[in-house]
Subunit: 428 residues, 2 copies
Amino acid sequence: VEGADASGFGLANLAFGAVRRSDEAPRPAVRVGDWALDLAALADAGALRVPGLPAGTFANDTLNPFLALGREVWDGVRARLVALLRAEGGEPRLRDDRGLRHAALAALSDVETVLPISVGDYVDFFSSLEHATNAGRIFRPDAEPLAPNWRRLPVGYHGRAATVVVSGTPVRRPQGLRAPAGDEREPTFGPERRLDVELELAFVTGDGPPLGTPIEAAAAWEHIFGFVLVNDWSAREIQRLESQPLGPFLGKSFATSMSAWIVPARALEPLLVTGVDQRPAPADHLRVPEPRALDLDLRLGLSPGGGAGETVISRVSSRGLYWSPAQQLAHAASNGARVRAGDLFASGTVSGSEPGSYGCLLELSWGGRDPIALPGGRERTFLCDRDTVTLRGSGRRPDGALVELGEVTGTVLDAGAGAGGRPAGGSR
Amino acid sequence: VEGADASGFGLANLAFGAVRRSDEAPRPAVRVGDWALDLAALADAGALRVPGLPAGTFANDTLNPFLALGREVWDGVRARLVALLRAEGGEPRLRDDRGLRHAALAALSDVETVLPISVGDYVDFFSSLEHATNAGRIFRPDAEPLAPNWRRLPVGYHGRAATVVVSGTPVRRPQGLRAPAGDEREPTFGPERRLDVELELAFVTGDGPPLGTPIEAAAAWEHIFGFVLVNDWSAREIQRLESQPLGPFLGKSFATSMSAWIVPARALEPLLVTGVDQRPAPADHLRVPEPRALDLDLRLGLSPGGGAGETVISRVSSRGLYWSPAQQLAHAASNGARVRAGDLFASGTVSGSEPGSYGCLLELSWGGRDPIALPGGRERTFLCDRDTVTLRGSGRRPDGALVELGEVTGTVLDAGAGAGGRPAGGSR
């Protein structure tokens, strides 16, 4: 497929998703450049015979049955796809069979991308030292910014699986009980005034061992199917009021957006680099092999409502994350918790050490104190209605291949009819 | 069915579950005394025709498709079952058709009860004022026991749906990084030494409105399909180390046990009573109609390993819960979070104001300080391996009918081969 490699969605990537053509049920697909390759159509044509892959695996509206098959089958399908798609030395089947090409390939502009997995459980970590430190300074200015547990284990919590949505889904500004602001003495119910985003790197798993059996640290990476970007939309006033002592709840559960395309872990292995030094040394259940960190460039773009175009307001590499994906997974399963095919684990906000590398508006505006300048004299502390946020990420492998993560975009809708209180949004 | 009414699982109850006969797939069933009535068999025989109930709804291994149909269909099926089962004035169909009786009725001793729902999201609240106050005193002795938000909103968090198990499932003692104990200076990894239980009342929902649309407080009760007991097993050392600032994670996610039988909300409506006074007055989104509290007697039984028999170590009524089920649900959906058929919402530990009414060992032993005396000179602070815990609950309606909740029982397994550290369990 011409131009696919340059797009970051070429043979080196082969990202998995699910697409709907017209009124049909969604079907699993692989992205090749600006095309979606229908996996059910390929399988129906007998072009996807792989040991351990049952017939009908792709005759589903999500990837979950495929994810449940595990690493060997994932690798087998990947190898088959490479053989079918390779320009030279590959199998001529897809190239020569016009009928199959027509049945299996659809332009992305002709299909709707849908949530490619049924999310079993969604866990969100807090893996960036820089983000955890900044959040502590802003939320708890009188205390040590980092809790004593932070360097001992990847702090995390469970989010709401039902409200994970695919890139492109608009996000309604939530209402809720908000911590007092300005001259208010009491919490008030109304539209969130400090609506924020969080730039996160996340992974989707296959099936883990039975309940009661941990995943060994050394094996954790092999349970990861692939990676997505996640925008963990956050309502800071709601979060601030509710979080003691059981953590975030409604401040996060109104929407979490993920990429439509899942980049296989295998495609990203050439981008693994040695992780940051960890002191004290992690406990045994967190000792994963090096290289453990993914070297991906992540970007946070903001388009203010009204069409002034996008400004990239943050750039950061995921290689600086203190706790790596394999450590996150090994920790989450270390108590015997069950991990299922289609579980989603997100890193928490990825922030670097420079202001231009912070992954959320809370940090970029330092709790609303320092507005972020945008072109045309606009500025933002938190999100206004009709603002669009887009996360992007990519890496260039040592072999020169560009691998692009699926983008995550979403536009803020107003809180809706009947939403009382002041006009929403903290900035002009 | 003889003796059914006296068992608390009679016509006034009609609790729903799922059972497996021999090697067959599980099927939805209704409990009548010590019998399971196979709903798919009834439907196949044409005995369960109800407007809005599609054919095949019960040809599933969970109740989720039925739960998705909503209140009118739930009520319709309930009315049909009453007509079929009533001793006098009912339909003679089930009584007279020996073949149907044989196909549809199985003794509970001949079937295996399985988890009756696929849990979408699991939320755990903190709704008991007495429990929240006691937990604050024990965990944070130097601070106000109750956070300032507690009387404003039902504090809660998301648990792990994948580790919800049905009553009877053994529970493996988790390992994890534990807060320092005794002469330890650093956290250590090993079997949890303060394994606890939490006695909770929980509900299962039908489908809520689309993402972005709250559930109105006045309508919340109608979204509740039915009630179960939940044992929210808790690892107190793991929980203590990990919970700042994002709340409990691995200290809870190793196992959560729920009843095999879900008692319909309709069966419990005669047990609704006026809730405790709430000061300050709740925000509008939490103003639900009275009577809002369920008057159920809950009991916590402990059988120490080795077969000394069960001692009821706590008795408490759910009517004292500060935040009621409808308030919990209205709050959880107030930000537009999606609620799906099969979601599970638990109250948090139910405790009363007397020591013999506390719903967890943390409170009953006051943080391990005061051992709980058991017959034969035994005592416990936290759970030992092979201990069995059983939760029970029931209410007597004004019409004299006894309604029993499904019991929840579970036995502690040791942490397993390779689990280092000291012998587990804090008591002899």
